[in-house]
């Protein structure tokens, strides 16, 4: 086909980054991943969980935890999803989530929102008193005990649970189970009223 070769053509100056954002040579902006807590009200019906988790996996959103549970309305469930993504990814995740038909509303919670996780930690039963002492340090409590094992329950922020799990490592840890985060906005704000 006729026409000037590629290296003989008019060229623009600019450039975009891999996220399609124009790069300002003066102020190179990079988007570091950050954590975001998405809270979604969804119709309580079969298949919703797989629809949401399928969305996150097929669009390669980096998901840290997903919890789902009932709300005060029996037809509606709440999902709390912790993701770690650069800013554009977080925006995409919110919009894609909102697009799913069973999703009623989506909101990203403020960083200072109340976030709680729960962990059950089963350790050997040799030193029950020491175990209790550590549990107390983390406002936890023993919820089951036998001659061979003690199971402790701890609730709190992710950081607190991380620290607690670390502290219990001094004992013979047999098993740990952690929930993902449950979270609510501080103050009177609710998801229902907002959207």
């Amino acid at each position: 086909m006729p026409g000037p070769a590629p290296d003989e053509r008019m060229r623009p100056e600019g450039r975009r980054n891999s996220q399609g954002i124009r790069v300002d040579p003066e102020a190179e902006v990079t988007h570091e991943p950050r954590q975001a807590v998405l809270s979604a009200l969804v119709k309580h019906r079969p298949g919703v969980l797989s629809e949401v988790s399928g969305l996150f996996s097929r669009r390669q959103f980096n998901i840290e935890s997903l919890t789902v549970g009932p709300t005060s309305d029996e037809n509606i469930a709440r999902m709390t999803i912790l993701i770690e993504e650069p800013e554009p990814g977080i925006e995409q995740a919110k919009k894609q989530l909102q697009k799913l038909v069973p999703v009623i509303s989506v909101m990203e919670l403020e960083p200072e929102a109340v976030r709680r996780e729960l962990a059950l930690i089963k350790v050997g039963g040799e030193k029950p008193d020491d175990v209790n002492a550590v549990a107390e340090m983390y406002d936890g409590q023993a919820v089951d005990a036998s001659t061979d094992s003690v199971t402790v329950e701890v609730t709190g922020s992710k950081q607190k649970i991380d620290a607690a799990v670390e502290a219990f490592r001094q004992f013979d840890v047999q098993e740990i189970v952690r929930t993902g985060a449950a979270a609510l906005e501080r103050g009177p704000t609710t998801l229902d009223k907002d959207d």
Binding site: G3, E13, R15, Q92
Partner: protein
């Protein structure tokens, strides 16, 4: 509903419904059929089978025309094409298990191209679900990621509503496919509940107009631009915004580039048209899209075949992005001025908000110069075999403007889009996002039934044609006046082109010298077959095929060495498109 069909179609529907008494429904299946009737469905493309038999039985008493297809894949593509041409959801039926899985390709295709379509699938009775029963598959699970929503009907009383909602959802907002899975006990079960009128789910919002302030800001930026372009995507056609686009572009004299799905949204014979951009788009469109300083993009999702590498995509441009789907905003390319709304409504808003036309005389001249510098021409030496471009161009020249062109996927698809002149919306029916070989044969069937008064031509590849050739039996049975043109290069040519360009000519599994004689195959099906080898016979053969009242197949033996240019290699820079093989090495 499409721009051209909207007024008469609405009237007809009103007439039909007011005069006809409808018998009350007695089963879930009847409620399903009633829901389709209420939604205005005229055709169903499908294949029978055990789990969906109750619904077919209910169809026995309906005025909806069922077109029995030779393969469920064809049913989904025919419904898809019907949806593209009419603007209303096409309907396809399949039984459970293999019937449903055969539909999957067409559903995924409709999903990628936002084509309105509803698929109804039979399912084993509710009590058997989960037992790996005969012909059970998790159809909802398989199709959830490739539909706007897949419904599992769980009760005879509500199954009609499920279908009504799925129909409305396929049509509303950003169009796309929906599916309702119909367990046999649910359709067989008794009910006297009439389905509700089609309405979208209560959680589904469809934006209309964009925010006024945002529109004003975008209009100001566009008016200030030195090198403005409009990029019109498939969404312009879907929103019936082609007229609004013409008015806007012509009033403010802004050059228009389309995406491939946007072909037909703006007349290619207009001075402002630069035709389409992307991997095999015109040189002038790709130059303009690369050098623009302000792009008004409407109804496009910035597919990588359009953008090439995003790092070099319109790198100087302020981007105004109009889309009805907020999730498309800044998904692939960052939008400086996002306008969420219906394309037609927002174009009208922008029209009113523009303070003045951009001062872009120089830029328009530059665009015209590029048309001269990078003409879409081809060579046709006497000693070389028939050129595919010539076949397409000749056909385009002799047919009316509203002729519908369908295609398979491959080189032939690119030649059909490059060398045919498109001037009207809903005349280009192709598989873009999914790139589905085999789309052409059944798509032409759906298109012809959707527009019986328009001529329908299908440019197909020898490889693509073979994938759905059984559909020819349907075209013959229904006596559909379609002209299939196989641009036969005895190869999966597009793959061969990439092997030659990027794999040192190692032609692994791309040449098919053993393909059948398609003219004879066509005759065996009961269609007319033509064999075409010489350039001098092109016009006469096209004429003979067009004159034949029924499906005809032209087996056009083209130059097997012909390649598609211009070409932007995958992930490359649109401005550095190759015009010939040698240029690829420079990139």
């Amino acid at each position: 509903m499409s721009e051209r069909a909207s007024v008469p179609a609405e009237d007809e529907q009103a007439d039909d419904e007011s005069t006809e008494e409808q018998a009350p429904v007695t089963t879930g299946a009847q409620s399903v059929v009633r829901a389709l009737e209420n939604a205005g469905a005229e055709y169903i493309f499908g294949v029978q089978g055990g789990a969906i038999m109750p619904v077919y039985d209910a169809l026995y008493d309906s005025d909806i025309t069922h077109v029995t297809m030779a393969h469920e894949q064809g049913a989904s593509h025919a419904a898809d094409a019907y949806g593209i041409v009419t603007g209303d959801p096409g309907v396809c039926f399949a039984t459970s298990g293999p019937g449903a899985t055969n539909l999957v390709t067409g559903i995924a295709d409709a999903s990628m191209d936002s084509d309105p379509m509803i698929a109804l699938t039979g399912q084993v009775p509710t009590d058997f679900v989960g037992n790996d029963a005969f012909q059970e598959t998790d159809t909802v699970g398989i199709t959830q990621p490739i539909t706007k929503e897949s419904y599992f009907a769980n009760h005879s009383d509500t199954v009609g509503n499920d279908v009504s909602e799925a129909f409305a959802l396929a049509d509303a907002g950003r169009q796309g496919p929906t599916l309702v899975d119909l367990p046999k006990d649910v359709t067989q079960g008794e009910t006297d509940v009439e389905p509700m009128a089609p309405s979208t789910p209560d959680t589904y919002d469809v934006p209309e107009e964009a925010d006024d302030e945002a529109v004003q800001e975008a209009a100001d930026v566009l008016a200030d631009a030195d090198r403005p372009v409009i990029l019109a995507g498939g969404g312009v056609i879907k929103a019936d915004a082609s007229n609004a686009l013409r008015e806007f572009a012509m009033e403010y004299e802004i050059p228009v580039i389309t995406t491939m799905p946007g072909i037909g949204s703006f007349p290619e014979d207009h001075e402002l048209s630069l035709e389409w951009a992307g991997m095999h788009g015109t040189g002038y469109a790709n130059m303009a899209i690369t050098n623009t300083d302000c792009m008004l993009a409407i109804g496009t999702r910035f597919d990588d075949r359009l953008t090439g590498g995003v790092d070099s995509f319109a790198p100087d441009a302020d981007l105004v992005h109009v889309d009805i789907d907020p999730a498309e905003i800044s998904k692939n390319v960052y939008a400086d001025y996002p306008l969420v709304g219906d394309a037609r409504a927002v174009l009208r808003q922008l029209f009113d908000a523009m303070p003045r036309a951009p001062d872009a005389d120089e830029w328009r001249e530059q665009c015209q110069d590029w048309k001269v510098e990078f003409p879409m021409t081809y060579e046709m030496p006497d000693d070389e075999p028939l050129k595919p471009q010539y076949v397409v161009e000749t056909f385009s020249d002799v047919t009316p403007d509203d002729t519908i062109v369908c295609t398979g996927v491959g080189q032939h698809q690119m030649w059909a889009s490059q060398f045919w002149e498109y001037t009207e919306p809903r005349t280009w029916v192709s598989s873009h996002g999914l790139g589905t070989m085999g789309y052409g044969v059944p798509a032409a069937i759906g298109a012809k039934l959707a527009a019986p008064d328009q001529e329908v031509v299908c440019f197909d590849g020898d490889g693509s044609f073979l994938m759905t050739v059984q559909g020819l039996s349907v075209a013959v049975r229904e006596n559909l006046d379609i002209t299939y043109v196989i641009l036969n290069n005895e190869a999966v040519g597009m793959v061969r082109q990439w092997q030659d360009g990027f794999y040192e000519g190692r032609r692994m599994a791309s040449e098919y010298p053993w393909i059948p004689q398609f003219d004879k195959l066509a005759e065996a099906f009961g269609a007319r077959g033509f064999r075409l080898e010489e350039a001098e016979d092109v016009e006469d053969t096209i004429q003979a095929a067009r004159d034949y009242d029924g499906p005809s197949v032209i087996d056009a033996h083209i130059d097997p060495g012909e390649n598609v240019f211009p070409m932007v290699p995958s992930g490359g820079d649109n401005g550095l498109f190759a015009l010939e093989e040698d240029h690829l090495e420079m990139l």
